[in-house]
């Protein structure tokens, strides 16, 4: 699947926050065989070189980066942050977040569409963090987005795919649009399920970073997305309500 004309090496997108150490972050990115990593921008005082050290670590990994606008609550904040990110990270890709509600970190879809329209017109390749709402999806595509990133569950909740019906409907409705489940994935099985549903990628952070052994979990997620993608290609059977014997009855001896 192409994301704005670029083929990623893997359908696993990995966040870079909350790891126990920079070394564990780097090892996790390698173990995950991540197709891209997400990054952010924060204030830095002149004395602290933390941001510079982080940037060299990411550059050395050689994985494509997707800067986010995490924590932005208004269109203006998100658009300005995207501009700053484009300069710092030298990419016009942006994971657009406009947060509308603090408890669930649900996107403000109205602000999101507006910010997506502005940024797309300025040449950004927008990856919008959205809900599974079909009407909002239509508006985002009309605003210039060529990728959609619906949530699975609230950010950091680890609850998996809360609305499988909605995610399936989105996939069916937009068969040719690259779709990424972003947020809420807690286990490799959730990632497998997303790929089985036909999603093109998943974006994961907390599930790996906050695992007891992040590197081992990163590897588990790599295998999980591989399993899900193969299952999708292999065309799964339809589920049914009643049993159907798998062993043939023909030729069964009469023993009663």
């Amino acid at each position: 699947m192409l994301f704005y004309g670029t083929e990623l090496a893997s359908p696993l997108m990995l966040g870079t926050a909350q790891y126990p150490s920079p070394e564990i972050l780097a090892d996790s990115v390698r173990a995950a065989d991540a197709g891209l990593v997400t990054v952010s921008l924060r204030r830095e005082s002149a004395g602290s070189r933390a941001g510079q050290a982080f940037w060299s670590l990411i550059r050395d990994l050689g994985t494509p980066v997707l800067p986010n606008t995490a924590g932005c609550h208004t269109v203006k904040e998100a658009v300005t942050t995207a501009h700053m990110a484009r300069e710092v990270f030298e990419t016009d890709w942006v994971k657009l977040e406009v947060i509308g509600e603090s408890d669930t970190l649900q996107p403000d879809v109205f602000g999101l569409v507006e910010a997506a329209r502005i940024l797309s017109s300025e040449g950004f390749k927008v990856f919008p963090y959205t809900t599974e709402d079909l009407v909002v999806a239509e508006r985002l595509l009309a605003a210039g987005c060529e990728v959609l990133m619906p949530w699975g569950a609230p950010i950091g909740s680890g609850k998996g795919l809360n609305n499988v019906f909605g995610l399936r409907a989105l996939r069916a409705h937009f068969p040719d649009v690259p779709l990424v489940v972003d947020a809420g994935i807690g286990l490799p099985s959730h990632a497998t399920q997303a790929l089985e549903l036909g999603y093109d990628a998943v974006l994961i952070n907390t599930a790996v970073a906050k695992a007891g052994d992040p590197v081992a979990m990163a590897r588990a997620f790599r295998l999980a997305v591989e399993a899900g993608r193969l299952a999708r290609i292999a065309d799964p059977m339809e589920a049914r309500d009643m049993a159907a014997p798998s062993t043939p009855l023909l030729g069964k001896p009469a023993l009663s």
Binding site: Q52, E87, I155
Partner: protein, 65 residues
């Protein structure tokens, strides 16, 4: 000049944003700047005058999800 940098009040001598970055010691660090909520690209820092009360934001790469 009394300005605010990353939410911290400062008295600075610099006359331009580019000079301010030097004065604060950022050197060649990979950063982006905004003034009073507006993005100022690196190419415009030399021509941007510092004025009293200005709010400057200086950001750098950071881990993100």
């Amino acid at each position: 000049m009394n300005i605010v940098v990353n939410d911290e009040a400062r008295v600075v001598n610099a006359r331009t944003l580019a000079a301010l970055i030097d004065e604060l010691g950022y050197g060649d660090a990979r950063i982006a700047t905004a003034v009073d909520g507006e993005f100022i690209p690196g190419s415009r820092r030399c021509g941007l005058d510092i004025v009293d009360g200005m709010r400057v934001e200086i950001v750098a790469p950071m881990q993100g999800g």
